[in-house]
Structures are given as C-alpha cells and as structure tokens.
C-alpha cells in the first residue's frame, strides 16, 4: 500500500476492502488487551517459590531480625541486589518498599516541599518549577509532576535518547528547570537505549543547571533484555563522578517486573548528600521498608548469576509476543510510510507512530473491534500528543495467539484510518 501516488479510485477501493475486513473483525466480538505494561501470569509464576523461601529464618547475614521495626536503608543483602542492577556501590543504595513509583514520588516531594539539601533548596520556594519530559514517555512520571504542580516541558526523544542539544540549551537558559525524567534503557515506550554520549552529556547537566536540579533516572528495565547480546547502558553514576556532578542524578529501579509486580522491592541510588537529605524527610514518613520481603528477594537471588538467569526465563516467555507485534508491523508497513516504530530489544513496549492526526482514531476503532489500546496521548504530558500520532503497544500480558489476533486488528485499523484520511484530504 503506497498512498502517496494512489488515485482516488484506488483509495476508495482500498477503503471498501478494509472496511469490509474491519466489519468482519467486529463481528467476531473479540476481547483483547494491549494496554498494560504488566508481567504475564507465566512470568509471575517464575517467582512463586518466594513464598516459604525463608523456612523460619528471618535473620539477615548481619544479624538483623527482619520481623521487627527499624532500618530506613533496607537490609544489606537487598541493597546488594539494587547495587547489582544499577551498577553503583552498596553504600549509595537504599532498598525500599514495593513501589519505585512511591520512591520517586517521595523523592520528588522531598525535593519540592522540603529540599534535598536543606529547606532553602526546596523547589517550591521558587515562583515557577519546571521539569523536562522527553516525549513520548511514561504517563506515571508526568502525573507525579502534575500532582505537585510542576510545569512540564517536552523535549523530543531521538534514537540515542533525549535531544541533548535542546536539553542543554533549556537547562542553561532557565534555572527554574529543576530536573528531567529519564528511562535510560528500553525507554518507555520507544525502547531506545541512551547512547554513551547521551549518558555523558546528562551527567554534565549538573554543571550548567540550577544547583537544585535533579535528573530522575528511572532504570525500570535495566536487566529486562530480550536479546542475547543486549546493548550496554553506560553508567550514569560513573559519568557523574567523573564530571563531579554526583548529586545531580537520582536513580531508581525495582524488582516489580523481575519478581512480583506490586510485591517487589524498589531501589534508589544517589549520592551520599542526596541520600542524607532524602532520609531526613523519609524518617518522618515511615518506620522503614518491609525487610522480610527484602530478605525473601535476597534468598531468591542469592546464587551467583541467578538474577540474570531468571531474566532469561522472562525473555523466553515474552520474546514471541514482541516478535509477533514486530512481524505484523513489518508485513503491513515495512514497504510504505503508514507507520513508524522502533524494534525493541527489551523493556515492555513497542511505540508506534501513525501519520499525524490518526492515533486517537486508531485507538477508538481498535476499541470498537474489541482490542483495547492505551489511550492516545497517554505518552505525553497532560495527555496531549500534539501530532496525535503515538500509540504504545504492550504485548506482555496477552498470549502469543492473542497478540497475533490483536495485531491483525491493529494493522487493519491503521490502514483503514489512513486511507480514510487520504480520501478526506
């Protein structure tokens, strides 16, 4: 299908064919769902042996009784898991509760209301507080900013990460910009891995930005590789040490998509100064994380190499689902310009761009045909995709057969919507 040179008759004919296909699909009354960035049931089952793993021994290697109160930092052996995932020293890691979103909201609340380096450093002391948001990106990040009344400024994602020329220009020019959201590996939703150059330039922002500028580095998919030879993400921690900007970046991760989503362990990695400032506030908010669940994780991943081996099992389960999405996209749009996407080597999403002005229509049509898609616009701050073209596809929860079925519907909807746009134009 090549629309650019197609005659009106040809377009009308395609429309008729596709509309018939679409009607046939609707008649099937499907109920499929490509919305959720969740592990599938098969993936969750990989960790089922965690319950009961303690066998009555609730004590850490350094003698802490995990059943009782105490300890804001988390237990040593859980912090070691975070240090491994994020590639930082154990002393720069906190192991928290079940949600990295909570840690991120807490960290941003502390930076905003209380200050990470004393009350004078609180963002809310200043008239306007802005945050950079590479787009498309993760709606939960945007909603944290929105909740705190922080103004979001979009910057474009490229195939090597955020557009760093633009980021550097903005950060240097406007000291009311207090940070930037980043998903550096298998970025949600584009799947991009930040290049070494990008990592280095982000570490350099601390030298040109406001003193209380903090990059929120959500490495949610740090070990979620699908390829046997995954791209390596450069260490932002090392890059910051080299640039002398250790406190300008705060890293996050969790085992939510490693063990149990919602019952995992979240991690935060930061400079000594940031950890100190954060814990000063955190001590008012909690009596400490669930150390027992941390100990379960530590025992589960105690054998050398077991975490990576566990992630390979995840990959085996979800790889065919990603492959199905990609093969449908390739078959339908490989030889034309109806859509663009990046092939993801990990993470949880494939990001698809329709021609401008069609994302909402495609999501609506797919919904009518029984295939739920993430609402168009969700990958942009305030739900506003200015070109109305981005759609996030999440293929992990449905089975391979369901993904296949859903993608047939998806490509039909994209084609039909595009043809109708061409006819109308």
């Amino acid at each position: 299908m090549e629309l650019n040179n197609a005659s009106a008759e040809q377009l009308a004919q395609w429309e008729q064919q596709l509309a018939a296909e679409f009607d046939a699909i609707k008649a099937k009354t499907l109920s499929l769902d490509l919305t959720r960035g969740k592990p599938s049931s098969e993936q969750l089952t990989l960790s089922d042996s965690m319950d009961g793993i303690l066998k009555g021994d609730y004590t850490t290697t350094d003698g802490v009784d995990c059943r009782n109160y105490g300890g804001l930092d988390g237990i040593t052996e859980a912090r070691a898991i975070g240090a491994d995932i994020l590639g930082v020293p154990v002393t720069n890691i906190m192991a928290g509760g079940n949600s990295s979103l909570t840690l991120m909201h807490q960290a941003m609340s502390v930076a905003h209301f209380f200050g990470l380096e004393g009350a004078d450093s609180a963002w809310s002391k200043e008239e306007t507080v802005k945050f950079l948001c590479p787009v498309p990106g993760y709606d939960r990040h945007y909603s944290v900013c929105e909740h705190l009344g922080i103004e979001m400024i979009t910057v474009a994602m490229t195939s090597t990460g955020p557009d760093m020329d633009e980021v550097e220009r903005l950060v240097a020019a406007d000291k009311s910009i207090k940070g930037m959201w980043c998903v550096p590996k298998y970025s949600n939703p584009t799947g991009v891995v930040y290049s070494d150059e990008t990592v280095k330039r982000i570490a350099g922002l601390g030298k040109i930005a406001a003193a209380n500028f903090r990059v929120f580095w959500d490495n949610a998919y740090g070990v979620h590789d699908l390829s046997d030879k995954p791209v390596q993400l450069a260490s932002i921690f090392d890059a910051c040490v080299e640039a002398g900007t250790e406190s300008s970046v705060i890293q996050f991760a969790s085992t939510s998509k490693i063990t149990f989503a919602g019952a995992g362990v979240a991690f935060m990695a930061a400079s000594d100064a940031n950890l100190k400032g954060f814990k000063q506030s955190l001590g008012f908010m909690t009596i400490g994380p669930d150390k027992i669940n941390q100990l379960r994780h530590a025992k589960f991943f105690a054998p050398e190499g077991s975490l990576r081996a566990h992630m390979q099992k995840h990959a085996e389960i979800i790889k065919p689902r990603f492959a199905s999405v990609l093969s449908h996209l390739e078959a339908a749009f490989g030889d034309n310009d109806l859509g663009e996407w990046e092939s993801a080597d990990g993470g949880y999403f494939i990001s698809f761009d329709t021609k401008p002005g069609l994302a909402k229509e495609v999501v609506k049509m797919a919904g009518e045909a029984g295939v739920k898609l993430t609402p168009a616009g969700a990958t942009f701050p305030y739900g506003n995709d200015p070109k109305d073209c981005n759609i996030r596809i999440a293929p992990t929860v449905p089975t391979e057969a369901q993904v296949d079925e859903a993608m047939k519907v998806f490509v039909t909807c994209v084609k039909l919507a595009t043809v109708r746009q061409a006819l109308a134009g």
Copy 2:
C-alpha cells in the same frame, strides 16, 4: 520514704544509702533497654508460619492475582481484618502497606498540601495551621506535624482521654486548628482508654470546628488487651454517623504489633468522601499496596476468632513484664508521692511521672547505670515537657528477668534524684 516531713539529717542519710546502692548498680555494668515500643522476639515468633502460608495460591476469593499490579484499596479479605479491628464497614476501609505511620503521613500530607475535599480545602492555603496534641503522647505523631510545619498545641490527657472542655473551647475559638491526634485505646504512653463520653464529644467536634478539621484517630492498640475483661472503646465511627460528622475523623490501625512489626498491614478507615479525596492523591503516589502480604495475613487470620486468640498469646508473653514494672513501682512509690503512674491493661507502655524537674535527671542517671530509657521530653511536642516529669517505660522487648533488673535501677534512680532535689531545695 516520705520526704515532706523528713529532716535534713534523714534526707542526707537516705542520700548516702541510695548513692551507695546506685554505685553498686553502676559497678554491675548492666546493659538493659526499656526504650522501645516493639514486640519481643517471642511475640514475633507467634507469626512465623506466615511465610509459606500461601502454598502457591496467590489468588483472592474474588479472583485477584495478588502477584500483579493494581488495586489502591487493598484486597477484600485484608480490608475485612481492618474492618474487624476498627469496627467499621469494609467499604470504609483501605488496606495499605506495611506502615500506618506512612498512611498517617500520607493522609496528613494530602490534607495539608492537596486537600481532602478539593484543592480549596488544603490546610496549607491558610496562613497558620495548628493541630491539637494531647500530652503526654506519641513522638512520631508530633514529628509528622513538625515535618509539615504544623504548629502543635498541647492539651492535657486525663484518665478519660483528652481534656474535652479545653479541646472544645480551642476548636470552637480558633478555625486554624485543623485536627487532633488521638490514641484512643491504651493511649501511648498513659494507657488510658477514652471514655464513652469522650468519644461522643470528639465525634461532636465536627459540628463546631473548621470544615477541613480532621481528627487523626490512631487506634494502634485496639486489640492489644492484657486483661481478660478489657475495657471497651466506644465506636467513633458510629458516634460520628449519629452526629452527622462522618468526615471529621480518620482512623488508623495496623498489624505491626499483631504479626510482624515492619512487615504487617496498615489500615485506614474513613468516610466515603475522605477515602475518595485521599485516593485521588494516593493514585499519584503508588501502584498500590503489597497484596501478597495482605493475602498472607488474610489466610493467617482466616479461622473465626483466630485474631483474638493470637492476641491472647501476645498478652501471655508480655503480661509478666508489665506486672513486674507495676510491682516495682507499687513497692517503691505506693506509699509516698515520689511518682505517679497508671496501671495499663493493654498497649505497650507505662507512663511514669516524677516530681517536677526530675525526668531528665532520672533518665540520665539510669543511662549511667546501664538502663536505657526513652529520652525525657519525647512524649511532648518539640521534645519539651514543661514540667520535666514524664518518663515512658516500654517493657515488652526485655525478658521478665531483665525488666525486673531494670526496674530496680529505675526506682533507685527516681528515689536518689528526688532526695537530692529535696536536699538542694
């Protein structure tokens, strides 16, 4: 020992005797600790079978897979535990994470920064925000207010709860008072159970207070009875319904001192309007609580009556420790006015009042003799006990023999400090 009519010679003689006793104790180089309101190791062991209790079944009765994301309210069967403890309908309960302190901090943050009934109801919109704090009370409550910059106003605790004449007078006169901290049963530290009259009058505050006034009702010891015939706390929920003030009280509880301290389940009970307002903000803060741990608790307490039976086992373990404290106090001060205390029928503390001006000195002396006590002043906002007389005794962690040893030291310190004060005066 009756100091009032004692001659200077008598006082000097007592001082000499007690100083010798004190020196003898110091020579023993004890290391005892009465500071911590924590369960003892024996108590924690009562719940050891929780790990492994799921036996591979992670699904709730209504079909929720607890291993995956979702659900701000917590699972139905965990909410039922909270409903049972707090005596409210399940629909008015949220089951949260591992810390009721976190829920309280979150609820107060939402009320303060974001508003429980829309942005206009946020306390922080107003020039001054004040909170009533019955004293002596719980230092972690005070620190939440301090963290948020909320001014604390003390009201005296009586044997029936806070001085309600004073509370009503203040609340009616000053609309910048936005709430009050309450530990209604076995109040921390005095052990007082609020009378029916007090509960009713607190429910009535919503009629005379500011519209965004909220009582934070921390029922931390609701099922923590030591007596076979425990005093019944009247239902604040029912009293509020009757008074038409459902939204003026938010209740909290947790299983931290029922199962595992730090790995239990926290609960919040509130009106539909308060829950709605709270969840609007909570949805930005978390992907939901750890449902697996909630399910463990639900299975552990599934048999009818098992929670009460479990609490009786707790009581059997800690009753002798409380009895030891009380018998030492009775023997030393039952026939004189050197100290006052309430006999606790539950909870985690015994509150002791020295003569004015001696609490800091007693805590210091006990520390020198190897017995750690909670810092004097901790039971008052800003750590400031104006009479310097209150000391909180926490006897659950040490063994009965250790409590006995520690209390010998304690009474000696109180006696010696009091005699020295009399000599100096």
